[in-house]
Symmetry: C2
Subunit: 336 residues, 2 copies
């Protein structure tokens, strides 16, 4: 191995390595995405490509590709189904931004700001329908079952999040259910599709589903921790969105567990009543650090990371399996 290659490997994250390994397949997925977001109604491809061109890491379709390649499955089927997974994800992003009244997504003005809430809702519906058309074209009822179940669970998670927002009675169990629904279920489905395509037995299918579920839990917990992490500001990233919206995420729940009556009043005002002034986010960060909320969150993420590793034990060793394992630690220790 040359020094240059070593340096490159050091700089590359396991997600980058997987993207590179799957580059040809990912190109095929992207082509599939572009083809299937077309419509005679010009606003649809305009809005969809605005969001999709903004990038994002394409984690979910990559997981579908990897979980298919892991078992030498038919990659042509994986391309189509990875595009379906990304369409479901994109549809939920469009709807989330309307629901959260967001104004930024992937470093740009979000689609609801540029094109309006109305168009975001309807183009989300369109992409969601397209996802099912892609699955029907593939023709596997198992895949349709997995992704229609995941879609229902995503919506349930999002509604539950709405019910727990600004609600200081929210428990850690409520939180787990919210993120299992809104995030982890699609990770699980994205990983489950591969062994289904490759006609693996049910234990292997379950192993990949468990891996995706645990990975998705870790991913969302870290995301929620990072939204309070001051170091992230140095990377030019926004923080504090969850606090402003009164979302009951893991750092808050750990801080609430140990809150003095006075602190509880602070949380009630800022999160429960969403009555916030400009110093409040700083105080929230301090209280979370004081009660070790970020570290406890990362420990929880690591527990899910360990579950994800365990889930892969049944899967024969291979370089792709190694990448899937490395992705777990990368996701937990990422800083953006």
């Amino acid at each position: 191995m040359t020094a240059l290659k070593q340096k490159k490997d050091k700089m590359q994250s396991p997600l980058d390595i997987l993207s590179e390994r799957m580059a040809t397949d990912m190109d095929a997925v992207n082509a599939m995405i572009v083809t299937h977001m077309q419509s005679d109604v010009a606003l649809i491809p305009t809005l969809a490509s605005y969001l999709i061109a903004a990038g994002g890491k394409r984690v979910r379709p990559l997981l579908t590709l990897a979980s298919t390649a892991l078992f030498d499955g038919d990659m042509t089927r994986a391309h189509r189904l990875a595009a379906a997974v990304e369409f479901i994800h994109t549809a939920t992003l469009l709807h989330d931004d309307v629901v959260d009244d967001s104004n930024q997504r992937r470093g740009k003005d979000s689609a609801n700001i540029v094109f309006g809430n109305e168009a975001s809702v309807l183009v989300g519906d369109f992409l969601f329908s397209r996802a099912f058309q892609l699955m029907v074209a593939d023709g596997s009822l198992d895949v349709l079952r997995i992704l229609s179940n995941a879609s229902a669970i995503i919506a349930e998670g999002e509604v539950k999040q709405l019910s727990t927002q600004n609600n200081l009675e929210t428990t850690m169990d409520d939180y787990r259910k919210v993120i299992e629904g809104k995030t982890a279920s699609l990770f699980a489905a994205a990983c489950e599709v591969g062994p289904i395509i490759a006609e693996q037995d049910i234990k292997i299918v379950k192993a990949l589903s468990d891996y995706g579920m645990a990975l998705g839990m870790a991913f969302q917990i870290v995301d929620d921790v990072l939204d309070y992490d001051a170091d992230r500001l140095k990377l030019g990233k926004d923080i504090g969105d969850d606090f402003r919206e009164g979302k009951m995420t893991v750092p808050i729940l750990f801080a609430l567990e140990k809150a003095s009556p006075q602190e509880h009043d602070f949380w009630t005002r800022t999160l429960g009543e969403r009555n916030q002034n400009e110093d409040d986010f700083g105080r929230a960060q301090n209280l979370i650090i004081e009660h070790d909320g970020l570290n406890k969150g990362l420990v929880m993420a690591q527990e899910y990371g360990n579950q994800a590793i365990n889930a892969l034990r049944l899967v024969p060793n291979s370089d792709i399996k190694e990448i899937l394992i490395n992705i777990i630690q990368f996701i937990i220790h990422r800083d953006h």
Copy 2:
């Protein structure tokens, strides 16, 4: 026939007759709807049942039941798929009311007013997912294809409607595409499911799809005419919503065709710029009547009605076929 029975027949619309004929099946559909809108997340059944309990004529699931019974198809499958059709319809209503910023639906405050736009968007997504879960449980890829295609076309129609709203360049052809998408495609799909269940040959499947499509076009055109019909006020119904929102519907398009330059300025101000005062709706109604916009709309609806009748020529005569034909005239001549 007794005098009493004759009187009852006279009072009953063909939709009422179909509802009565299909009462046991409709009960099964309603039970299916109630079962499948359940969720551990309490807000979901609360919101869904708020809208579903408000009634509505259940035209689409009735069409699925009738088009199955017409060919002696398996009614148990029809119950499940009729519920799926109604879930897709309900999801689009929830999203429409958010998009149109409506405050009334089926004579009550609309769900977005009572539960918020956020919950309406997400519960719509949930019901849409549930529809696909029901279809997967049925297991017919043909049905999944028909209803995923219809869902994509509905969303396209809605986005196209958004693009034509407040746009005086909208053509009659644009309008036809909008209503074909937003309304007629689901009528077509609802009718197509029956002969698919009953394993009819492709000509019969196409006949029912054509019937549903033409019926849906007539239905929506009449709906759009009625929104300018002063007689409807006597029935305690609201009118003028389309005008207030600047929707380019058939009465407007006929009035625009014949508009003087001065009238064109009026439409530009009221619909294009949505700058309206309280006298404007009355003036709009007068201009439409002057240019025969309502009658021309009804003539157009009747043309689709004739297409619907023709579409059924291939279908063997039966009492259900007769009801389906009677429904066409009822829909065109309804006053609410």
